[in-house]
């Protein structure tokens, strides 16, 4: 028997469907037993990844799609967000992200670019694969209160 249940959803790369994914992720996370705050974190991280595809992957292409695959384990969730459009260079994007520091000049504040930073902050692990379209792979573990943040779950 497989160690996890797999759920896959395919949506058009349109902004109105990002909230649909959020609702679905929330439902799956509830099944696994994530806390309210963890579910809210998951919703943001997954929305950021899906939004990224909606905004950048299919420039000029009408019928782009996004595939969201989720692996549900007893104590963790793995979410894969994938497009078949253009890929982005993770390291390059990563070097341009981060909290708002050095904000002496209001004009220089970035309005976008926070998405990847939030994904990395709110999830336990984020990986990106750029071969033929971009795939974002994220993991979040169920953490119980009074358990140290560094405690690793034993995966099967």
């Amino acid at each position: 028997m497989r160690a996890f249940d797999y759920i896959e959803i395919r949506i058009p790369a349109k902004p109105q469907y990002v909230s649909v994914i959020r609702l679905t992720i929330s439902g799956m996370a509830t099944r696994i037993g994530f806390s309210y705050d963890q579910i809210e974190d998951l919703k943001i991280a997954v929305s950021e990844a899906v939004t990224n595809v909606v905004q950048h992957a299919y420039q000029g292409i009408e019928d782009g799609e996004i595939v969201i695959g989720s692996a549900l384990y007893p104590h963790k969730i793995e979410v894969m967000i994938s497009d078949f459009g253009s890929s982005f260079n993770f390291e390059e994007v990563k070097s341009n992200i981060g909290p708002y520091r050095d904000y002496e000049n209001v004009e220089l504040i970035r309005e976008g670019g926070l998405g990847l930073f939030l994904m990395e902050t709110l999830m336990d692990e984020v990986r990106v694969n750029n071969e033929g379209g971009a795939t974002v792979f994220m993991t979040k573990y169920v953490t119980r209160e009074q358990v140290g943040e560094d405690v690793e779950q034993i995966s099967t």
């Binding site: 902004p15 109105q16 990002v18 909230s19 959020r22 705050d37 809210e40 919703k43 943001i44 929305s47 950021e48 939004t51 909606v54 905004q55 909290p99 708002y100 520091r101 904000y103 209001v106 004009e107 504040i109 970035r110 309005e111 976008g112 926070l114 998405g115 930073f117 939030l118 902050t121």
Partner: protein
């Protein structure tokens, strides 16, 4: 799913009550509402976010853009009644050090 802003005006302060979920679909609606505000020097704007049930970087982006616009006009912007979830989002992104933010009072 939509986002709406109700405005209330007293003297030099304009209050805006934002309601809904803020994501890539609804952010343009909020941007449009905020852009409709007639800014003038010395004016104070207070945005109540107590009924914002979800927000991600697209929502943050709208507030940052509006903040820049307000600063340019030498007006003031304050975000008030943020839930702990929303306040956390402003904190981890470093925006709380830049913008004036008030969380909802602990009961």
């Amino acid at each position: 799913m939509n986002v709406s802003v109700q405005f209330r005006k007293n003297d030099n302060t304009l209050q805006g009550f934002v309601e809904g979920e803020l994501d890539t679909y609804t952010a343009p609606m909020l941007r449009e509402e905020l852009d409709s505000i007639q800014l003038f020097e010395g004016m104070s704007i207070e945005l109540d976010l107590s009924n914002v049930r979800y927000m991600d970087s697209t929502g943050l982006g709208v507030f940052v853009a509006f903040y820049k616009k307000v600063m340019k006009q030498k007006a003031n912007l304050k975000l008030v009644a943020l839930s702990s979830r929303l306040a956390r989002l402003f904190e981890i992104t470093g925006l709380s050090e830049l913008m004036e933010i008030e969380s909802v009072k602990k009961v």
